[in-house]
């Protein structure tokens, strides 16, 4: 069982690396992340034995990732909609501590 999962992970690694060299613009990041999520789910489900664990353990596992999504989603709401300009500061900050 471990061998099968290991081979699947290697297949996904090969896939994501080759896909990186295909010019797809903004879709590249989405694909790379989708494959990364797939690999992570494989590791979580089989290696970390979520497959056989109780619902409570699965809830604990999912909670961390869900709360991370909250942070990413709401900061995205700010950064993607910010209109005004951002440029390097005219005078670089002095190096004094």
């Amino acid at each position: 069982m471990v061998l099968k999962v290991w081979l699947a992970l290697f297949a996904l690694l090969a896939l994501t690396t080759t896909m990186a060299f295909v010019q797809l613009g903004s879709a590249n990041l989405a694909i790379a992340l989708a494959i990364a999520v797939a690999k992570a789910v494989l590791v979580l489900w089989f290696f970390m034995e979520l497959k056989g664990s109780a619902g409570l353990t699965r809830a604990f596992a999912a909670a961390g990732f869900f709360w991370l999504l909250i942070l990413i989603a709401l900061t995205w709401a700010d950064y993607s909609q910010r209109r005004d300009v951002r440029v390097p500061v005219t005078i670089s900050s002095p190096r004094s501590p």
């Binding site: 990364a36 970390m48 353990t57 990732f65 709360w67």
Partner: protein
């Protein structure tokens, strides 16, 4: 050192061994949730800067070594598989096999750290290390920002990996001397190791793959 009646050696508060196992697993998973958010804050920072400096960040990521990165990912995935084998063999009382698999896991972990430090050395020669002698004129602000983030993220990941290797070696020695009572702590150690592997699974595309489709 417990200060209560004889019946209060460590673990007295559990009704039975099964409850002790569930409690330790749940405790580990709760700790891993904090680690997810600990690394997650950095990944959220990356996404926000990716929204702002899309193409500059891609250009900056072009300087990362994808070959070494891919090899490292393969190494870490294999070490995760070895750890899974170790937990499986310890559960089925194959003591010698568990010890060997744990040694393999630690070896692969050390290999990862070796490749990573070699990669750092290459980047140092290219003046890509922000705090030391970053070549600002040649690379510009966004690249320095990316590499600051890169060194913080991979440095922290390597630190977690070293701690993991330490525990794995300690467990391997304990099994060899047959001092480890049950498979519980190997399973807990396995959870931690696989988590460190998952962090790298997410860091790999953000650092290395981003640079290829600029």
């Amino acid at each position: 050192m417990s200060d209560r009646a004889a019946s209060t050696e460590p673990g007295f508060q559990f009704a039975d061994a099964a409850q002790a196992r569930e409690v330790s697993t749940l405790g580990m998973w709760a700790f891993l949730a904090t680690e997810v958010l600990f690394f997650g804050a950095l990944i959220a920072a990356y996404f926000n800067y990716r929204i702002w400096y899309g193409d500059e960040l891609i250009a900056a990521a072009g300087h990362t070594k994808i070959v070494l990165g891919t090899i490292n990912t393969a190494v870490l995935l294999t070490s995760s598989a070895c750890m899974a084998m170790a937990v499986w063999s310890q559960e089925s009382k194959a003591r010698r096999a568990a010890c060997l698999w744990l040694a393999a896991t630690a070896a692969l972990g050390l290999l990862f750290v070796a490749i990573k430090s070699y990669e750092y050395l290459l980047e140092y020669r290219e003046h890509l290390v922000p705090a030391l002698d970053f070549d600002g004129a040649r690379y510009g602000g966004a690249t320095e920002l990316f590499f600051t983030w890169y060194f913080c993220a991979t440095g922290l990941h390597a630190l977690h990996l070293l701690i993991g290797i330490g525990f794995v070696l300690f467990a391997a020695i304990a099994i060899a001397r047959d001092r480890l009572p049950d498979g519980l702590s190997i399973r807990i150690l396995g959870l931690y190791w696989h988590f460190v592997d998952i962090v790298w699974i997410f860091l790999f595309p953000l650092i290395y793959l981003a640079g290829r489709n600029g």
